[in-house]
Symmetry: C3
Subunit: 312 residues, 3 copies
């Protein structure tokens, strides 16, 4: 069963295989399952990017997407996640994409359900497709991870992205440093990189990866005002000017404009923010193919099919 | 106009025809309408199973499903159900599937709208596709209904399933008994079967059909605690041991684990709970075909189409 | 970029071109884009008619509709409309349909996004597809706009429809008058037509176009009771009897039965209310084709495709 749960469980060669498939899809390759294949997207937390990105990826693979709205589901009657997934499996759903607010929600599912689970984010834990699209974007830019310095800046403690990325980047040969409010630095992350002063981090890194302040996960005492945060830890116009030549800016979005980053920099020349979103579709096509190819079967480069069916 | 409103209005031969079609779909037969055909699913109450099941059935028949979210519809502006259905009809929707909290909501529609209505549950009234999938599951197990004893246990008064099933089962030749809290027994149901003590019912029936406690429909004074209910009327581990050989357990789900049934029995060997869900898709394909075939037209066993379109 | 933002920005010849395409679609013509094409419908206000109508139109053109539910989107995390649209564009969405409660919401988007925007209603401002379907319905009835008198009656001040329609009708050669509560008449509309007494308006017009009372946009002091409004300004049974021969009744719906119009007249012989909805689908097909044809490309009258793909 080819679940996709965390970046950590993926070997280097599996990551490289997924990125290679994603590049292929971006270059125009295609894949379609042999049979009508159903997938359901279960988003227990708000999302535009990840949900729409999966949805587009699914349609590009010719999958049938079964709508699942938490607010109108039996989850409201107290149904457990396990029973919901078993239900979807019983009615013929072949794979599920899940975002959930509980860390490691998938632990209660794995080994007990018979369809692949693609984790679209769990609590403060993991967000493997975000990591993979970040990796794809860095690889596209620098071709290698060896010797690339990546600064992950901001709300590290509450970030699914920070954990997933730091781990994978280090294994792939990159150097990772963390910055932002020091009290948000999590000692458990020290194995992947040390804390660095904000100005040093921005001035010496090839990739400045900003994280979203997750207001909804902070207690009041823990909060910085937007202006104060921007001045102390944000990517200001001044700090951007001191970045290395050819270094790039990344952000998983949604962006809090003028907090993590000056609004005027969101679409500046160094910014890869919207390119990350574009790459997300191809990465998701790759992990969906990986999950379905094994037990559903499919065909690559179905250009004739597409000519007949879509491009006419 | 081939509506599907209640099980009672279906003749024995109509039921048998639907079950036969459903078995055919399960065996791999197919049907597609001649023309692009639109269907809308209107769920005014939460549902996972029924909604997803209809959705999968619709896609398997190649129908176009138009999303309808009550929470973002003009129903919020006070639009009547009749005007909503007439609107959908006007924009080209060819059939509607409706779940509504009002008993017999369809009375104000029938004869005035021009598209078939498939009832996916009304108030405490009817739920014909649930009945049909229950019948299909029993028939698959025992091949006949003659002489089969079915115990319907639990929240009989608030159950759409109890009414629909008891009526159909009796007409098909089965024996029905009811059990659970005696004060929940509805005298109007006596025509289809008598009330039986919980232990007798479980020990002597071929089918133990448990109903969901509908907490949301009970007043406080009416409530049993979960533990008390389970001990007095639930399918405990002990009671299951005393069931007849080859007898089966059914439940329309969602299950309240450890209330109606011990959580460990939900997927035991006797349980057909997830098989019921699987059969639901085929039953819904059958009633959708029945509703659309007449005025839209369609073709059976379109294997070539499917080979080309879906299976490549 | 062929946005569709307001009726006013459309030239007479553009309007005629759209109506001609819409008539073609109604007569059975078809169009499909060359490549798999994605569209998202963003409805920030409740809607049944407009949303379902766009959805059906999109499916008839073979478009892939990406679900976007405001209530489960990052809009809840404070994402701006601009960032949402740029996100959708980045993941591959080719056009967006937007209904929003802010007047001229599109001003902050036009010139900055790279995909066409189809306005499905903004605040109290514009609703161009509603105007176009009204025009199509009038044209179908009278063949010309020259010399046709149209009375627009009711909640003129809060009506997107009133503004859009009055402007286009006058340019096309029709005569427009306004009626209803005089305090709701907006002086800015005088350029398109004068205020007329309710009985005169109804008795002398070829088209009696009633508007919906938008309770949700009125302050308390501003309110009329339903009965009072109906008696003073509604289309009563008595007033309908005095209408000109061959004159017709229109209403954008949802109808407040027995307020703007006696419930018994909603489907009377003069009423074109449900025909308007039907025409809405064809008008939306026309504007979607217009938006996509230029940069996506497509083919007309793909009957073979349809025979193979849809009609088998």
């Amino acid at each position: 069963m080819k679940h996709l749960l965390t970046t950590s469980e993926l070997s280097i060669s599996e990551i490289e295989q997924i990125l290679s498939e994603a590049r292929g899809f971006k270059a125009g390759e295609s894949w379609l399952p042999h049979n009508q294949t159903f997938v359901a997207n279960l988003f227990f937390e708000p999302s535009t990017r990840t949900k729409c990105s999966f949805e587009v990826a699914e349609r590009k693979l010719g999958l049938e997407v079964i709508p699942f709205e938490v607010a109108t589901s039996s989850v409201l009657k107290g149904e457990t996640l396990y029973d919901t997934i078993r239900t979807l499996e019983s009615v013929g759903v072949n794979a599920v994409v899940i975002r959930h607010n509980i860390d490691n929600y998938f632990d209660e599912l794995v080994g007990k359900t018979n369809i692949p689970i693609l984790n679209a984010g769990d609590g403060c834990g993991h967000h493997p497709t975000q990591s993979l699209l970040d990796l794809m974007t860095i690889q596209e830019e620098f071709e290698t991870f060896q010797g690339i310095k990546v600064a992950i800046i901001g709300d590290i403690r509450h970030s699914r992205v920070a954990r997933s990325n730091a781990d994978a980047l280090v294994r792939l040969g990159a150097e990772v440093v963390f910055s932002g409010p020091q009290e948000w630095f999590d000692e458990s992350m020290r194995q992947n990189g040390h804390y660095e002063n904000i100005d040093t981090a921005i001035e010496t890194s090839d990739v400045v990866m900003l994280l979203r302040i997750q207001h909804e996960r902070h207690s009041d005492s823990d909060k910085h005002t937007a202006e104060e945060y921007h001045r102390q830890y944000g990517l200001t116009i001044d700090r951007e000017k001191k970045m290395k030549p050819n270094s790039i800016i990344m952000h998983p979005a949604p962006v809090n404009r003028d907090v993590e980053i000056d609004g005027r920099l969101v679409e500046c020349e160094r910014s890869r923010i919207f390119k990350q979103m574009e790459n997300g579709v191809y990465v998701r096509m790759a992990v969906l193919k990986r999950a379905l190819d094994q037990y559903q079967g499919g065909v690559n480069n179905v250009n004739d099919y597409q000519k007949r069916l879509l491009a006419y």
